[in-house]
């Protein structure tokens, strides 16, 4: 369900421990996959932690089955709502081809969380073009850590395939400094009561599996939290949200 590919760094240290702080996130998806909801959950989590946050979304014609690209940035001061090309700390891809398309936004050595889902575009299903091969190899060439998530299957197991977007957030959560309770509040704020249970189940399953897989590469485990702990992090957010 979850697989972690780590590129061994030249100096022999464990790659996950070199992930560093995640501030800039680009989300690549196909219209209708729920990336905008995921973007808003992520942004409200950061806001509740007291960070400055900016996001960028795409609406309109592009949503008719086209590529949907969103950006989430957090920090003490955030200017542009868009992550500059090549500077994203984390690329969250809801689909393999879109992961490849937005790979240039990821900084070399950054984290890529990618759903194993493949949605061939009409240029492939009807236009005779080839769906790209070697997605795994290409992502691993640029990213320091690639987490592959069978997101729809994980979500189906949790009770609803539509929760794949929140399952992907579960995998992503392994790289962020936030407690499961903070995540739960952010998710609950964006979902109707009747969908919360299923989505939280999908979130937890993906998070635990990702932490476990990462633990095999580093020192962390679901019990002890992320393998890199707080080491190397800059000062935390400038204080809790007044609200």
């Amino acid at each position: 369900m979850v697989e972690v590919v780590v590129r061994p760094p030249a100096d022999g240290t464990c790659a996950p421990s070199r992930v560093g702080q995640i501030e800039d996130i680009v989300i690549a998806s196909v219209g209708g996959q729920g990336a905008i909801l995921a973007t808003r959950i992520l942004a409200s989590l950061f806001l509740a932690q007291g960070w400055q946050v900016k996001t960028s979304e795409v609406h309109g014609m592009a949503q008719r089955g086209g590529t949907v690209e969103t950006h989430v940035r957090r920090g003490r001061t955030v200017y542009s709502p868009l992550v500059p090309r090549g500077e994203a700390d984390l690329l969250l891809a809801f689909e393999q081809l879109e992961g490849l398309r937005y790979l240039p936004w990821l900084r070399p050595g950054g984290v890529c969380v990618c759903s194993s889902e493949r949605i061939p575009p009409v240029t492939v299903t009807q236009g005779g073009q080839a769906y790209p091969e070697h997605v795994r190899e290409t992502l691993a060439e640029r990213a320091g850590v690639v987490v592959w998530v069978h997101a729809p299957a994980l979500a189906r197991e949790a009770g609803n395939a539509r929760a794949a977007n929140v399952a992907l957030l579960g995998a992503l959560s392994a790289f962020l400094e936030a407690t499961p309770e903070e995540w739960e509040r952010a998710i609950a704020a964006h979902l109707p009561e009747k969908l919360r249970c299923v989505n939280m189940a999908a979130f937890r399953a993906a998070r635990d599996l990702t932490l476990a897989r990462l633990g095999e590469h580093g020192t962390g485990s679901p019990e002890t939290g992320p393998p890199w702990g707080n080491a190397g992090l800059e000062a935390g957010p400038p204080g809790g949200n007044a609200a």
């Binding site: 219209g31 806001l47 609406h59 309109g60 200017y79 709502p81 500059p84 240029t123 236009g127």
Partner: protein, 599 residues
Amino acid sequence: MDEVAGATVLLSGNEAIARGAYEAGVRVAAGYPGTPSTEVIEALAAYPEVWVQWSTNEKVAVEVIIGASLAGARALAAMKHVGLNVAADPFLTFCYMPTRGGTVIVSADDPGMHSSQNEQDNRQYGRLARTPVLMPADSEEARDFTRAAFDLSEEFQTPVILRTTTRLSHGRSPVRLGTRQEAARPLRFERRPQDFVMLPVNARRRHPLVEARLDALREYAEDCPFNRVEWGDRNLGFITGGVAYQYVKEAFPDASVLKLGLAYPLPRRLIRRFAAGVRQLFVVEEGDPFWEELILAQGVTVLGQGVAGPQVFPRVGELSVEAVREAVRAFLGAAGTPPSSPAWSQELPQRPPVLCPGCPHRGVFYVLAKYHLITTGDIGCYTLGAAPPFHSIDTCTCMGSSIGHALGLEKALGPEFSRKAVAVIGDSTFVHSGIAPLIDLVYNRGTGTVIILDNGTTAMTGHQGHPASGWDARHQPAPRLDLEALCRACGVNDVQVVDAYDLKAVEKAVKAAVARPEPSVIIARRACVLLPGAAAPPIRFLPDKCIDCTACFRIGCPALERDSARGGKRPRLNETLCTGCLMCVQLCKPGALAPPEEE
């Protein structure tokens, strides 16, 4: 969302504009949907204190808020950039009239044309109308500027343009919510024909006042809260505003910046002082070289898009942190090696937007493609009929243009042209600006065929109501315009209504209407498949019956994928995408594509 005053919440630029208007005590809001402006009106609909409406078109929306303003009410209209072209007529004369209730026109521009047909820069309307233009740079400013815009409007008795762009409108950032201030002034209409009736005699008296107001606004700009200087490294100075300000700050955090929140009129002395305080001055603006020309005209040397001197920044498309950084570095001769795109990024198959599976427009385009009919098109989802496999749209310029284009082609080429051509227009677009051209076609003895693609909603922008939909901006039932009766009243005798999913009926109607040497309207009716309850269970594919004839692919449905294992001649049904519209079933002679089994 916790919408309590004092709470800090994440709002899109559009939601923040709506919040600012609400806090400013806005009473009347009107608009027509258009990306990236739509959510301003949608967000205002959440506030019961405000009358909120989708207008027939932007011109009507502006006329409605003029009326509200004359009554003393604060009023707002929101539209995309090209919408202000439609509303330019009332707007450019309203600016001669003394605004009573504060009046704000939100213009959402779309640099990069994410969802638009042009890249016009509506700061130009400020110069044209002699009205102030405000340009916020994030959501908090969008709320603050909107709230302040109403005060500015009342202080100077002028409408105010609030210009946003896609990245502001659809970006989210924190906003600390304030409380609503109801206007203290009593609402009533005073008869002041010398101010409100723009006869030449009155307009001649008003125009000098408009010019004097502009002078007063120029003076105001020198020291207004919307503009600010951020001194830093004096070697490098930028004049910028809107989201471009954010790009400049990120690319050159140490530079000196003059941030223009009041985009028009410009503060001449402030600009002169700033220019004198820095060694190298750039103007960074998304859109036209609007500021660049105005600044150069006052004799200040500035580098931008190359109006005078070398071109530093691109003249088209969106800016970004990278674009600003690389342009300035390249000019200063400190260019690093530009990050090369990995070879594979160019080879990836594109994922263009397409008509949805089950889209009722699909059947009409199938018929138009089958008969190779020339098709004048219009603005909406159905512009995607230009894509493969239909290649069905031959012209498209603006809202309502399809019918006039068809008539002009007929007048140039003779009535025979209309025997092989149609105009297609959506229901919302037809009501927006297709009715006058239809009357024109009848009056001028055109013989063309107009197909109204009636899916009962303004679909592309996210399913807003319109006069023929039967519901309003708050999703409440509303009087419903009868399109058939309207077309007959316009003088069209041949009006047919067909089910857009019934391919035979559509084909029969199109053949008959095109052949007839008189004006015809076909209303191809079927609810947008994305509306609740419109989709049905998926069909079945029975491979044993498939004869690899490929006829089903002519409907171009994304749910029918080409099975590469069979040389691409056989469909593979994507059940997740299929909405059970049964259009492909009608094309499958051997019955390999079959309706779902009865329970």
